[in-house]
């Protein structure tokens, strides 16, 4: 079993993750990889309360996630790993060679970002990180919910406001 989905989503734990992906994957644990959340007891409690009782949630900063990845991956239950931004996933994938694919689930509008899909907005630096991720052998696709088509990174980056 182990980690079935590696997702970049700036909303971190929310409906699409817990219900939209969590139910069809039968996810039984979540790993929230975020340096800020991992350093705050209040933030951890906030996200812990958002998770249904049948799911465990683990919090890790990127360095801890790199260190503990083998343990997460060996878990007999299906799980989902979520990072809040491309930079965190880029750092994680640099330290963990076992990541085969990354899902762009939600990177919303912010100053300096350009719309690539309805739910994916990227700065040039974020685009570069995703290109590097793919160049390292990680398949990068955008797909907000399981029923949507997985859009390859090249297609995501092709144009604006698709």
């Amino acid at each position: 079993m182990g980690i079935h989905l590696y997702r970049i989503d700036d909303r971190l734990i929310h409906g699409q993750v817990v219900v939209g992906w969590g139910q069809p994957l039968n996810a039984r644990f979540l790993i929230l990889v975020d340096d800020l959340v991992a350093s705050s007891d209040w933030e951890k409690e906030l996200y812990r309360m958002a998770v249904p009782p049948e799911m465990d949630i683990y919090f890790a900063d990127v360095a801890t996630a790199v260190r503990d990845h083998a343990r997460y991956a060996a878990d007999p239950r299906p799980g989902i790993l979520i990072a809040g931004d491309t930079e965190s996933m880029h750092r994680l994938a640099k330290g963990v060679k076992a990541i085969g694919s990354v899902n762009l689930g939600g990177i919303h509008h912010r100053a300096g970002r350009t719309e690539r899909l309805r739910y994916v907005f990227l700065t040039p630096a974020e685009e570069q990180q995703l290109r590097e991720l793919e160049a390292s052998g990680v398949e990068v696709t955008a797909q907000d919910v399981p029923s949507a088509r997985a859009v390859p990174l090249a297609e995501v980056l092709e144009g604006q406001s698709k």
Binding site: L12, I13, H14, V17, V18, L46, M49, A50
Partner: protein, 135 residues
């Protein structure tokens, strides 16, 4: 993005926020049933970052003077944003898992404080979930 009434008798007392058009649908349903949609402000969080969701809720709370936030999913981004607001302001009340029965109870219950009305409405909403099966 929002709809609200401004007259004193129909002043907005709560924000309703959720996924997709959830809040607009619920507020519209309240209006169809009792014409009291003005007591609610519907917000959508479509396309918003977590920070933008929180900003939008705070802006509507400040504009209307409402002290109650209704959200759809306990695990939703709106609920997380509302929790941050409630943490800072003890006068705010959050009810997650809102349904139509909850809102109908709330808009009619103007004799008590908004927080008391929210608690009562939550109980009504829970009680409205029933399972009917042919025996």
């Amino acid at each position: 993005m929002s709809n609200s009434g401004e007259s004193e008798s129909n002043k907005a007392r709560a924000i309703v926020i959720g996924h997709g058009d959830f809040s607009a649908g619920l507020v519209s349903a309240v209006d169809q049933i009792c014409g009291m949609a003005g007591r609610l402000v519907g917000l959508s969080m479509m396309g918003l970052t977590p920070e933008d969701i929180e900003t939008a809720i705070r802006a509507e709370l400040a504009r209307t003077g409402a002290h109650v936030i209704f959200t759809d999913l306990p695990a939703g981004s709106a609920t997380l944003a509302a929790r941050r607001i409630v943490k800072e302001d003890a006068s705010m009340v959050l009810v997650s898992g809102v349904n139509l029965a909850t809102l109908l109870d709330f808009v009619f219950n103007t004799a008590v404080s908004p927080s008391e009305a929210a608690r009562s409405a939550a109980e009504r909403g829970k009680a409205s979930l029933i399972v009917v099966e042919r025996s």
